[in-house]
């Protein structure tokens, strides 16, 4: 169970963006040195607000975009030197919006069978058999095999996307917000399907989401991302019980409850929106951090191992004695 499927080592990715008319181009640092490993059979959640680099990281991991620095190892082999098909066979995505992720001009059977046609030498009959089998697995009725995506509901479309990702049995599936475009009533069905498939076949997922309840329900380990870096990574139960990083805590506090009398929770994050074009010096979170100390503005924190987790915050640095410890671990 502890075999490493996917490993990122110091992965960075920056984009050169136009600074405006007659101005020099500027660098946008979307991912700034991400390290993590995903072991076989694990469900790792990746959370963070919009624009923190989650989707860029997903594209890097899928090999759709080369990292500017660092390397990504898929089952021990770096994907940068690998054949495109070799990577594709081992890692597959499920996208957020099932209305955009299925080609409207292709029948469901063709869409689901595409990985087999591209990645294997199987004949038409064998592909058709595997398509039927996979459709049954994800709970799609066999009669929709010749239908087109516009004839299916959102939930059914997402099942098609799952079937397509699953059909050639990849080692890991990257789920990029797999439920956030769906009706609330359908979300739980899709999550349960993903969970059942994971248990049945021992699948490995990287679950990217901003919905913390989804992550809490599905993931065994959670990584919290802020401005292109993973600031805290821990087993789910520990993180949800007491987050160590102030940003992770603010994220957990921001979850809305169905009770309107409680109002909108105050996260104390202020209005400073994180700008990946101008990343603050020192700890990148310090302008919004309710617990910021003077040295946070100048000293960038190093990743710190605490027990079975990792946190990147000066509050937890061992040489930090002038701050009371019980304040941080409530």
């Amino acid at each position: 169970m502890s075999e490493t499927v996917l490993e990122a080592r110091g992965v960075r990715r920056s984009f050169s963006v136009s600074g405006g008319f007659m101005k020099p181009r500027r660098a946008l640092h979307a991912v700034r040195g991400v390290d993590f490993t995903i072991r076989r059979g694990e469900v790792v959640g990746l959370v963070g607000e919009s624009g923190c680099g989650k989707s860029t990281l997903a594209k890097l991991l899928l090999g759709l975009m080369p990292p500017s620095e660092g390397e990504i190892l898929l089952e021990g082999a770096p994907i940068s030197g690998q054949d495109r098909l070799e990577t594709a066979r081992r890692i597959q995505p499920i996208f957020q919006d099932p209305y955009s992720s299925l080609n409207p001009r292709k029948s469901i059977g063709t869409i689901i069978g595409l990985p087999l046609r591209v990645q294997t030498d199987l004949g038409g009959a064998e592909i058709a058999r595997r398509v039927t089998e996979t459709m049954d697995l994800v709970g799609l009725p066999a009669r929709v095999v010749d239908s087109y995506p516009n004839q299916l509901s959102g939930g059914q479309r997402q099942r098609v996307a799952i079937a397509r990702a699953l059909i050639n049995r990849p080692s890991i599936i990257i789920c990029d917000e797999p439920t956030s475009a769906l009706d609330v009533s359908v979300q739980s069905q899709i999550l349960n399907l993903l969970q059942d498939l994971q248990r049945e076949f021992g699948l490995t997922y990287l679950l990217i989401s901003h919905d913390l309840s989804v992550v809490e329900h599905m993931a065994s380990r959670v990584a919290v991302m802020y401005l292109g870096r993973i600031v805290e990574e821990r087993p789910t139960a520990g993180l949800f019980a007491e987050a160590r990083h102030p940003y992770a805590r603010a994220l957990l506090d921001s979850v809305l409850t169905p009770d309107p009398s409680l109002g909108i929770p105050d996260t104390h994050l202020g209005a400073a929106f994180p700008n990946p074009l101008e990343i603050p010096a020192g700890c990148s979170f310090h302008p919004r951090c309710p617990k910021a100390m003077p040295r946070c503005c100048t000293v960038a924190p190093d990743p710190l191992r605490i027990g079975d987790g990792m946190v990147e915050c000066l509050l937890h640095a061992p040489d930090q004695h002038d701050e009371p410890e019980e304040e941080t671990t409530r």
């Binding site: 090999g63 990577t87 955009s100 992720s101 080609n103 066999a142 929709v144 239908s147 087109y148 397509r164």
Partner: protein, 303 residues
């Protein structure tokens, strides 16, 4: 719907109709589309069957029977032997009109095909690859857009000499701009859709992505532009022939027929009115068909 046989009517009824079936339904309910299709099919059939339908040889000059007016004219000369009369050389006008339809349709269709291939290649390449490739494609498109079509066509035809194939090539090489512009925009829009990313993640080659993921989705706009450009090419051919730089006499072309009759415009106006009306009907039907196709296929883009 627990039907034992999945292909029974009951099970089928649960599903919404397929895109093709819905499109057929919309097409037959669209008056402009139907009218355009009927006129165009009529002209096409006439052109195809010209050797069988035409009452006379279109090249046959009978000088003592020249300038006979059409039958509906109150004239002693008007006869059912020449329903649309004869021209200044005594050639049967109906036969020339029928054979002229062949030339118009041939030039329109061939020039449209050539420009479609060029324009689609440039547009899809620019839209799909983006970056430097797109910059180059965009530059080519802009350069083409800054050239006045008729002037360039006149210059080339007068240098190379005019013949049917020269006219087809000159028009085909000049009017691809709309294909390129439309295809580039449509491809760019599709490029960012998740199903293209999914195909990349599956490991499809670029050729496969362009041919099987992008092309089927830009087909609608391609067909619509094709009809517009076919009408455009037919009108340009008529204009070139009118200027004496297109199809050469005695070949019957509608533009040339108008040109040959221009000296007699004030006394025998029907010589210009008949081929003019034919040209008008042809272009109108193609445009109606194109408009109809856009209306019929557009809802697919939205879903």
């Amino acid at each position: 719907m627990a039907v034992t046989d999945p292909v029974t009517g009951a099970a089928e009824a649960v599903l919404a109709p397929s895109p093709a079936a819905r499109m057929r339904g919309r097409a037959f309910g669209h008056a402009g589309f139907v009218l355009g299709a009927v006129i165009l099919i009529g002209i096409f059939a006439m052109a195809l069957l010209a050797p069988m339908v035409a009452p006379h040889d279109p090249f046959d000059q009978v000088l003592d029977r020249k300038l006979i007016p059409p039958v509906w004219f109150d004239s002693a000369k008007a006869t059912w032997e020449h329903p649309l009369g004869t021209d200044q050389l005594g050639r049967d006008y109906l036969s020339r009109l029928l054979y002229g339809a062949r030339i118009s349709l041939l030039i329109g269709f061939a020039a449209m095909l050539i420009s479609m291939v060029i324009g689609t290649a440039i547009g899809v390449a620019g839209g799909y690859f983006g970056g430097r490739v797109d910059m180059v494609c965009n530059f080519i498109i802009t350069t083409r857009l800054s050239l006045p079509v008729v002037l360039v066509a006149i210059a080339v035809v007068s240098l190379v000499g005019s013949s049917l194939s020269v006219v087809i090539w000159v028009l085909g090489l000049l009017i691809w701009d709309r294909f390129a512009v439309v295809m580039r925009a449509a491809t760019m829009q599709l490029r960012g859709r998740d199903f293209v990313t999914a195909a990349e993640a599956i490991g499809c080659s670029r050729a496969r992505i362009i041919l099987s993921e992008i092309m089927p989705n830009v087909m609608n706009s391609l067909i619509v532009v094709a009809t517009v450009e076919m009408a455009h090419a037919i009108l340009l051919e008529a204009a070139l022939s009118f200027l004496g730089l297109g199809v050469q006499p005695p070949e019957p072309s509608w533009g040339l027929m108008i040109s040959e009759a221009k000296g007699l415009m004030f006394f025998d106006g029907w010589l210009i009115a008949i081929p003019g009306a034919a040209l008008f009907l042809l272009v109108l039907s193609i445009n109606l068909l194109g408009d109809g196709l856009r209306d019929v296929t557009a809802p697919e883009n939205r879903s």
